[in-house]
């Protein structure tokens, strides 16, 4: 259970956001391998390919063209294959109802996307570190709920 690094995946159609997230991940204490996807279809193709390692933690932008974050979430939760993968959904804005609904559908983490880089780093650090505790201490991932 104690690996030295974590496998992260990120799906976001915005190139700048992909860059910010990648930079933020690089500065974390936990070492990570990051796979990037431009949209939901690219993501699902990667995940559905059994040759690819399943990420420990997936960051999913809610608003994406072609296939939305919510559609991806539903597809992922429908498959037993991804039961150990934690999912963090993020969005710039959503109603309380939508946020709660995202958790109900199966997201572990909901992030309100911060505007500045330092805040983003702090948020990502908390998500990855908390996920790391679940990963290394045998905690029940089904109870892993975090809202930032």
């Amino acid at each position: 259970m104690n690996s030295d690094y974590i496998n992260l995946a990120l799906a976001d159609d915005d190139e700048d956001d992909r860059l910010f997230f990648t930079e933020a991940f690089e500065e974390l204490k936990v070492r990570s391998n990051v796979s990037l996807f431009k949209d939901g279809i690219e993501l699902m193709n990667y995940l559905d390919d059994s040759n690819n390692a399943i990420p420990n933690l997936l960051f999913l932008d809610l608003n994406m063209p072609k296939k939305s974050g919510l559609e991806c979430l539903k597809e992922i939760k429908a498959s037993q294959r991804f039961k150990d993968m934690a999912i963090a959904i993020y969005s710039t804005s959503a109603s309380e109802e939508d946020i709660e609904n995202t958790f109900v559908i199966g997201a572990n983490v909901y992030i309100k996307k911060p505007n500045d880089f330092e805040k983003l780093k702090k948020v990502l650090s908390e998500v990855v570190t908390t996920n790391w505790q679940y990963h290394t201490s045998g905690l029940n991932k089904e109870n892993f709920l975090l809202r930032l």
């Binding site: 259970m1 104690n2 204490k29 936990v30 709660e100 958790f103 109900v104 559908i105 199966g106 909901y110 570190t129 908390t130 790391w132 505790q133 290394t136 201490s137 045998g138 905690l139 029940n140 109870n143 709920l145 975090l146 809202r147 930032l148």
Partner: protein
Amino acid sequence: MKLLLKFDFTKVCNAVLEQRLEAHQLKYQQTAFGEIELLDKVSEEKLDTFYNDINDFGIDVVKDPKKIVIQKIKDVIVDMVFNEKDINVKTSVYLAEKLNENYSYLSNLFSEVTYTSIENFIILQKIEYTKILLTKEELSLTEIAFKLNYSSVAHLSRQFKNTTGITPSAFQRIIAKRKQIN
């Protein structure tokens, strides 16, 4: 037919371990939770087969000396929280005594290896236990606060929200709704 199960983790872990040790015909003595002494000399090959076997059940052998200490710290904390031990001293004193080490050594090592502090880890365990008590045992937050020695319900509620970002009632609501759709 749906069955809702509750797990006594210590019992489950020990049962699996015992079963696998016997399957590999290894004579052993259990010295503590997560600690066994193999009584006979065993070949590297036989050990590797055994390690691979228990690995399938999610059991890993800890070899790194730093990680051994970390695991011990975690075990003491989990035991303290989940077995509702009434500790009359500060946790730092309790841990130092239990592990026979200087607390700042334990604290620094823990942060270095786990990327979080002992204090945070303890809070995380308490909140995890709270979640289980809320959903599986259906205890009220007041009952849980009392069980886990919180100074008040408000204190537990606040810590729950600080740790997870959601309130205990929102958590219960979400888990209940999840069960409905599955």
